[in-house]
């Protein structure tokens, strides 16, 4: 088991190393950030001064080594635009993103799981078709469009909810719905297929043969087993929602990490983009590592096969 854990930790470290190098290169391939930090009549002296100020006049390997040295000490650099440490900015925005991610996850579970179960239990019925329609809409309606429609209906017409920003619970409703809707569709599809698989298994047939009522078979026997992959997906989805809800956060002016990343990309804020991506990668790799270790702990066959 310890060997397995060490191997998984090493894989994670290598993954993060590759990620940091990749994002470091990619942001530098997108153009000169100094061009966006000066005015149209700037002189070469202005450009050089800014490049020197931010260490952009040094070679890429030197910049990367500096970035990694700082990152290993928990420093992800200082944002060009906000003049604050990236880690500070990230953790300032994290609570907002966690709030939105949790609310959206809850919505996706509340829509996806019941609809998925009904769809599986009433397979090929009208209910199933409705659920499949919901899944199709969920996956095909763009988040930005849904967000704007929600604003139009609930803020402008009905005046029930504020259009944007953060504050009390009312601010969370629309962005969580717009974000959770897409993930509800994937949750619905997975719940449906997982339930169908479980409902077709031998032990469910046995339960039915024993004369157990349908409700008991579904709720007590099938449901619990079918939910394992669903909750695994929900966990991964939540990490994505916390770190990459870019469009929804922009539409609703939600001050989260996705919007921070958007601003960083838009303004060529290299340290900010690198920092946010590395932190998101760290979170995803960390969660996967924990899940892998837990799986191996629960099922010894996993640690032998990997």
């Amino acid at each position: 088991m310890s060997q397995f854990i060490i191997r998984r930790v090493l894989y994670s470290v290598v993954t993060l190393f590759i990620l940091s190098g990749t994002i470091f290169l990619i942001v530098r391939l997108t153009g000169d950030p100094v061009a966006l930090m000066t005015e149209a009549s700037a002189r070469p002296e202005d450009l050089e001064r800014i490049r020197h100020q931010w260490g952009l006049d040094r070679s890429w390997p030197v910049q990367y080594v500096t970035f990694m040295q700082n990152a290993l000490q928990g420093e992800l650099g200082k944002s060009f635009n906000y003049r604050l440490p990236v880690s500070e900015l990230y953790f300032q925005r994290l609570p907002n993103s966690l709030t939105l991610g949790l609310a959206a996850t809850l919505i996706s579970l509340l829509i996806g799981i019941p609809a998925g179960i009904i769809s599986a239990v009433k397979v090929n019925s009208a209910w199933d078709n409705v659920a499949k329609g919901i899944a199709l809409l969920g996956l095909s309606i763009p988040g930005f469009w849904l967000g704007l429609v929600l604003i139009l209906i609930f803020s402008v017409w009905l005046r029930w909810l504020p259009t944007s920003g953060s504050g009390d619970w009312r601010h969370v409703v629309m962005p969580a719905l717009a974000l959770g809707w897409y993930f509800a569709a994937s949750m619905l599809r997975l719940t449906r297929s997982s339930m169908l698989e479980v409902l077709g298994s031998e032990y469910i047939k046995l339960a039915r043969l024993k004369g157990l009522p349908d409700f008991v078979v579904v709720a007590m026997h099938a449901f619990k087993n079918a939910l394992i992959p669903v909750f695994t997906l929900a966990g991964v989805n939540m990490v994505v929602m916390v770190n990459a809800a870019v469009i929804i956060e922009v539409i609703f002016a939600w001050p989260g990490i996705g919007r921070l990343l958007y601003e960083g990309i838009f303004q060529r804020d290299f340290p900010l983009v690198q920092g946010v991506v590395v932190m998101a990668g760290f979170m995803i790799v960390g969660i996967n590592l924990v899940v892998d270790v837990l799986y191996a702990f629960i099922d010894p066959r996993i640690r032998l096969t990997r």
């Binding site: 997108t30 153009g31 000169d32 950030p33 061009a35 966006l36 930090m37 000066t38 005015e39 149209a40 009549s41 700037a42 002189r43 070469p44 002296e45 202005d46 450009l47 001064r49 200082k78 060009f80 635009n81 906000y82 003049r83 604050l84 900015l89 300032q92 704007l148 604003i151 139009l152 803020s155 402008v156 005046r159 504020p162 259009t163 944007s164 920003g165 922009v250 539409i251 609703f252 002016a253 001050p255 919007r259 921070l260 958007y262 601003e263 838009f266 303004q267 060529r268």
Partner: protein, 531 residues
């Protein structure tokens, strides 16, 4: 003992004196205690993210953007305001540039203070100037010999040589920032980065809270030297235009910036909402590498044909609902020495004739037409219009950072036959436009244009200390560009903003009163109705 007699005339005199004092106090108090009279809340929905560096004049990036924040939190000795391009008296009650342009003297207003209560002193002015490290800092440093504090309200800038552009550079907020005064003691105590998070200025509003990139909350500054109308000023970053419009519709925002073309008609019909189409950047066409004799645009007739093919009015109507303005000069007319030029005509037949005379009876192919990101639809319209006269081009879209980088790369980044549709706004002087977008080696132009005789005249302009001669040269150079179609002006973009029903106004210019910036100001003058 004699009882004191009732003396009516004394009572009358005292009453008169009392009334006089009351009236005097009522007249004076709003000016001496601005914040006390301030009421209500004004919310601005800003159209992009906030960069904290915009709150520090010491690191002014030279763009128009920080104007919006400077005019709320900070103040300058002189600044652009209303129709005054650079010489509106702000913290200075008087200023004079010596006749030989080798010095400039400023006298501070009496009793001006920073938000922390410290007085604004000549030492703060000197520090702000000498510590300034933003756009054009090298120009000020190179030309300044010393800064003398004459007395407790007077400061003198002494230059090594005549510095004719000093006042215009010093006083134009969207060019440079050394004239914007920061408190030396506080700045040194906290450092530049911390200052950007909690700036202290001498402007009409003091910072209450900042969420970096999200929101800036301010409150009226009681000791400002002018009356401040609203108590709370909140600026919220809302990148999505439709959301900003919804905020306006719902009363969550009082002013929204940058209403895009597709929403202008909708916003214009909202009850109580006023559109504010501020004339902004100039769009013009460049022919990179036209100096090469093999390039079709080497021939002046071909460049003129392009100008004749452009439907400026149609472009303006389609792109800004007609709120922009077709122009004759590629340099905005709100800068020093910009010349007025009649709008260029559209004449497709004449354009075809000119192409035929130039040896292109069937037109020719342009490798790429590259518009300023993200104005791609303008590039598409230009391509369609050029096609009418036989010039066939393809649209090249670039991300903004890449576009700017390639501009700086010079002609090698634009090989073959190419057209660039630029859009730019530069304040202050015509010379900043020339220097950035035309001169050989300029920030944007690099080696793509390089017209030697005009560059020679520009050098002469730079060296001259005779204002009349400079003006003459400026006009000659601009005429030279326009008559030869080196650059082809298209139209001035409209930066369309919207003002909600709570804001008190007679016309939109009350809120956006100036030709020198696209943003609302002076913030202290803007009122809300229900206060």
């Amino acid at each position: 003992m004699k009882r004191p007699r009732f003396q009516a005339h004394i009572v009358f005199k005292l009453t008169t004196l009392g009334l006089f004092l009351l009236v005097a106090a009522a007249t004076v108090l709003p000016f001496s205690s601005a914040g006390a009279a301030a009421k209500g809340k004004l919310t601005l929905a800003w159209h992009a993210g906030f960069a904290s560096r915009w709150l520090d004049p010491q690191e002014h990036d030279g763009t128009a953007t920080p104007d919006n924040f400077f005019t709320a939190i900070h103040d300058a000795l002189i600044k652009n305001q209303g129709t005054q391009l650079y010489d509106h008296l702000a913290l200075a009650e008087h200023f004079a540039v010596a006749a030989d342009a080798k010095s400039a003297t400023f006298t501070l207003r009496k009793g001006v203070k920073f938000h922390n209560g410290d007085p604004v002193t000549p030492q703060d002015v000197k520090f702000s100037y000498e510590n300034y490290r933003g756009a054009k800092a090298d120009v000020f440093k190179k030309k300044t010999e010393r800064v003398d504090i004459v007395d407790d309200r007077t400061i003198k800038f002494v230059f090594k040589e005549p510095f004719l552009d000093f006042a215009i550079l010093f006083g134009t907020a969207n060019v440079a920032g050394p004239g914007w005064v920061v408190p030396e003691k506080y700045y040194k105590q906290v450092g530049g980065d911390a200052f950007k998070q909690k700036p202290i200025g001498a402007g009409p509003f003091k910072l209450v809270r900042q969420e970096p990139g999200v929101k800036v909350e301010m409150e009226a500054f009681d000791a400002y030297y002018r009356p401040v109308s609203v108590k709370q000023l909140v600026m919220v970053s809302v990148p999505e235009a439709a959301t900003r419009v919804a905020m306006l519709e719902r009363g969550e925002a009082d002013i929204v910036y940058n209403v895009p073309g597709e929403l202008i008609n909708k916003v214009g019909k909202l009850p109580g909402v006023t559109l504010a189409p501020v004339l902004s950047g100039s769009f013009f066409i460049e022919f990179p590498g036209f100096q090469d004799p093999k390039n079709p645009f080497h021939d002046k007739r071909v460049r003129e044909a392009v100008s004749l093919a452009v439907d400026r009015r149609g472009m303006n109507q389609a792109e800004t609902a007609g709120m922009g303005k077709p122009t004759g000069n590629w340099i905005n007319n709100d800068v020093q020495y910009a010349i007025e030029w009649p709008e260029f005509p559209r004449n497709v037949e004449k354009a075809k004739q000119l192409l035929k005379e130039a040896g292109y009876p069937n037109g020719f192919d342009v490798d790429w037409v590259t518009p300023l990101p993200t104005f791609y639809s303008r590039g598409e319209r230009l391509i369609a219009q050029l096609r009418e006269v036989g010039i066939r081009g393809r649209l090249q879209t670039m991300e903004r950072g890449i576009f700017l980088q390639r501009l700086q790369g010079g002609i090698k980044e634009f090989p073959g036959t190419q057209i660039i549709l630029h859009g730019v706004r530069i304040a202050g002087s015509w010379s900043f436009w020339y220097e950035g977008y035309f001169k050989c080696g300029g920030f944007s132009s690099r080696d793509r244009i390089c017209v030697k005789d005009l560059d020679g005249k520009f050098d002469q302009y730079e060296r001259s200390i005779n204002p009349a001669e400079r003006k003459k040269l400026a006009e000659e150079i601009q005429r030279g560009i326009l008559e030869n179609y080196y650059l082809v002006p298209v139209f001035r973009h409209a930066f369309v903003n919207a003002i909600g029903p709570r804001v008190a106004l007679q016309k939109w210019q009350d809120i956006f009163p100036t030709i020198t910036t696209g943003y609302a100001y002076p913030w202290e003058d803007i009122k809300v109705k229900d206060q």
